[in-house]
């Protein structure tokens, strides 16, 4: 399958042809450039010779880019023989990386999407351990293929951790407008996988209840979308957005919680004493707790609670 090592001109490599590329492009390759400068190229890229005398890359995209950055004109490569086919080049590209380190989710998705041109899901499952260095179930392969068909920037968001596979799987079932709407949201926030799922569910359920498309939910409800415009920090923006979405999904619950929190704040208990309402107000049990370091603090807290007995708002909270 492979000829021996040979030296070629970098300009003879068609680096725009990325048919075997399975890793997203690294934004910063300065470390790699520096390393090559200091120690030379440790692993030669693998290329496929084409009929026109040019080459296309099977592996080593970043290395070639780093060499270009170092103004190198030639590179030692491993070249395949001339009659190797596309399928085997792709298999080689995937397996080389998978046996070097576990593939990232995005690499797995890209690999499966590309291989699906040659293999059905059943065959892919059969060869998965030999190619991906792990056994993949058919259902998982289906999911990854579906996720791979999501429009951009889905893969980029998965790569940056802004979209979990589970959330992506939920999006796959939606129409294109809704998918784009959610991808836009996730490109503007940074939420844990469970919060992403909560957001998707709450937005979809509110839209269904209101009979509007998710993408016009905010306009229909006359709400300012906290993701529009310049909002500060990503974490604050995420928090505001999550709160807004929850308020639309559970309006009465949200208002009740807020009203009770306001009332609790107006009782002005000291910071050491916590008055916690029952979860979702289904039971009537409020919990009151305080922490003490010594007996004196204990006495103080008891005194605060005794004073609070006269507080009408507290009575209202507990007896409502």
């Amino acid at each position: 399958m492979f000829d021996t090592l040979r030296e070629i001109h970098i300009s003879d490599i068609d680096i725009r042809d990325e048919r075997y590329r399975i890793s997203p492009e690294s934004e910063n390759i300065s470390f790699l450039s520096h390393s090559i400068k200091k120690m030379g190229l440790m692993n030669p890229p693998v290329v496929r010779p084409m009929d026109d005398g040019k080459f296309i890359l099977i592996s080593g995209f970043n290395r070639i880019k780093a060499l270009q950055q170092n103004n190198e004109s030639k590179v030692r490569v491993r070249s395949t023989d001339t009659h190797i086919d596309d399928y085997h080049c792709l298999l080689f590209a995937v397996a080389t990386l998978a046996f070097k380190r576990p593939l990232t989710q995005v690499e797995l998705i890209i690999s499966i999407k590309r291989l699906s041109r040659y293999l059905d899901r059943e065959d892919m499952t059969k060869i998965s351990s030999a190619v991906f260095n792990t056994q993949l179930a058919q259902e998982f392969i289906d999911d990854l293929m579906n996720i791979g068909s999501l429009p951009s920037p889905a893969l980029k968001l998965i790569h940056t951790g802004q979209l979990s596979l589970k959330s992506a799987k939920k999006l796959v079932r939606l129409d294109l407008d809704a998918i784009s709407f959610f991808l836009d949201i996730f490109s503007k926030i940074r939420a844990s996988a469970s919060v992403q799922l909560e957001l998707i569910q709450n937005i979809l359920e509110t839209s269904l209840r209101e009979g509007v498309h998710p993408k016009s939910l905010f306009q229909e409800l006359n709400l300012p979308n906290p993701l529009d415009g310049e909002t500060v920090d990503m974490a604050i923006r995420t928090h505001h957005f999550r709160t807004l979405v929850f308020e639309q999904r559970y309006p009465v619950l949200s208002r009740t919680r807020q009203a009770v929190q306001d009332k609790i704040a107006s009782v002005k208990l000291p910071g050491t004493i916590k008055l916690i309402p029952p979860e979702n107000f289904e039971s009537r049990k409020y919990s009151i707790s305080f922490t003490v370091k010594n007996h004196e603090e204990f006495e103080k807290n008891i005194q605060h609670l005794t004073d609070a007995l006269e507080n009408m708002t507290l009575r209202e909270i507990l007896d409502s």
């Binding site: 359920e205 269904l208 209840r209 559970y250 009465v252």
Partner: protein
């Protein structure tokens, strides 16, 4: 929904009851040795629930024929007794818990009037009031047109004085029962909802008007009546809609013939949501403000429940101040805020319902 496939236990005798049933269903039963064959048949479908609604399995009840209703902790239960005559239903309500309760659901008809008769006689001999219903795991009257069971039950209950039979339904299948001598021991009960909910969520059921017309007809023959607002669904404008339903009840029937009216807002096991979303993609039932209740079922946020209950109770009290109203599975706070009392003592609600049954159905009051 029309039955398309009929299975029958091989060992089940062909007697008057089964012959009558088979002759009216107009299908030749496939005799089976093992119930697994029915389960396999249903499970192979893409939508086992829908297939199960068209597949009848005539069998014998191998478990307890008479059992206590499984209430849930934290919420007050009414001490009902279930007469287990079958499972599942031919109608197709989006919210039906039976879709998720059985895996897979099987439409079973439990043949064996003798067995049921004997078990009931044992109940009738006890010194205790019983409120017995067949509508817990099925609709009480789905088989009325093809089965001898409803008639048998009404007649059997007519001959005793310590139990009432409640036939709870969304059908208008009362033809075979209407002229029976029921001796006031059968309560014909209808689950009611707003026309909008009936139209959108209760596929295959009778309309509100048809149910009330049937109730009126039953009343005219001396039957005692009950109504169940369950599940009450909260949606914009529902207060007025439910009040209109209440008004309509009393355009058809008199308060004096109503033994009780229950109210219960929609609640569901979390697993039901996925079933509803899959089988009824148009339904927005599950997108109300549901929180997880203390029994782990999803329930409307309590202030919403209290609000709709108060509105409905005010409407009901205006027309029927003396009719006993109760909640199905609610807690002390809801009872107190909406009805002004809480049957907190053990079996208290059951005792109150026994009193209603005794008063309106002429049971032996000494047993309360």
């Amino acid at each position: 929904m029309k039955i398309e496939t009929l299975f029958m236990d091989n060992l089940l005798p062909l007697d008057d009851e089964t012959e009558y049933l088979i002759s009216r269903i107009h299908l030749k039963p496939q005799k089976i040795h093992d119930s697994g064959e029915v389960y396999d048949f249903i499970n192979q479908a893409d939508d086992p629930v829908s297939l199960a609604k068209k597949t009848l399995y005539i069998t014998q009840n191998k478990g307890a024929v008479i059992r206590n209703c499984p209430g849930t902790c934290h919420y007050t239960c009414c001490d009902y007794t279930i007469l287990h005559t079958g499972t599942f239903c031919t109608m197709d309500c989006a919210y039906c818990i039976l879709q998720a309760y059985f895996h897979p659901p099987v439409l079973q008809y439990f043949a064996g009037l003798d067995q049921i008769g004997q078990e009931l006689q044992a109940v009738f001999r006890q010194n205790k009031i019983f409120r017995i219903g067949t509508g817990e795991y099925t609709d009480s009257l789905i088989w009325e047109k093809v089965s001898l069971m409803p008639e048998f039950l009404v007649k059997t209950f007519a001959g005793q004085k310590n139990s009432v039979l409640e036939l709870k339904t969304k059908t208008v299948n009362i033809e075979s029962l209407i002229s029976l001598d029921h001796n006031e021991k059968t309560i014909m009960a209808w689950s009611l909802n707003t026309p909008e909910i009936i139209r959108s969520q209760e596929k295959g059921t009778a309309s509100l008007t048809a149910r009330l017309e049937a109730a009126k007809q039953a009343e005219s023959k001396g039957y005692r009546l009950a109504f169940h607002f369950d599940p009450i669904v909260i949606y914009p404008g529902c207060e007025d809609q439910y009040k209109k339903v209440i008004q309509k009840i009393f355009e058809y029937v008199r308060p004096e013939t109503i033994v009780w009216i229950s109210l219960g807002t929609f609640r569901f096991m979390p697993g039901l949501k996925a079933v509803i979303e899959k089988r009824f993609p148009e339904s927005t039932l599950c997108y109300g403000e549901f929180i997880q209740g203390l029994d782990n079922k999803m329930r409307y946020f309590k202030p919403l429940r209290i609000h709709i209950y108060k509105e409905m109770i005010a409407g009901l009290k205006a027309y029927a101040p003396d009719v006993f109203l109760y909640f199905c599975m609610e807690d002390e706070e809801v009872w107190e805020k909406c009805l002004g009392f809480f049957p907190g003592k053990e079996r208290e609600l059951g005792r109150l319902l026994d009193q209603c049954a005794a008063g309106r159905c002429n049971l032996n009051r000494a047993l309360i």
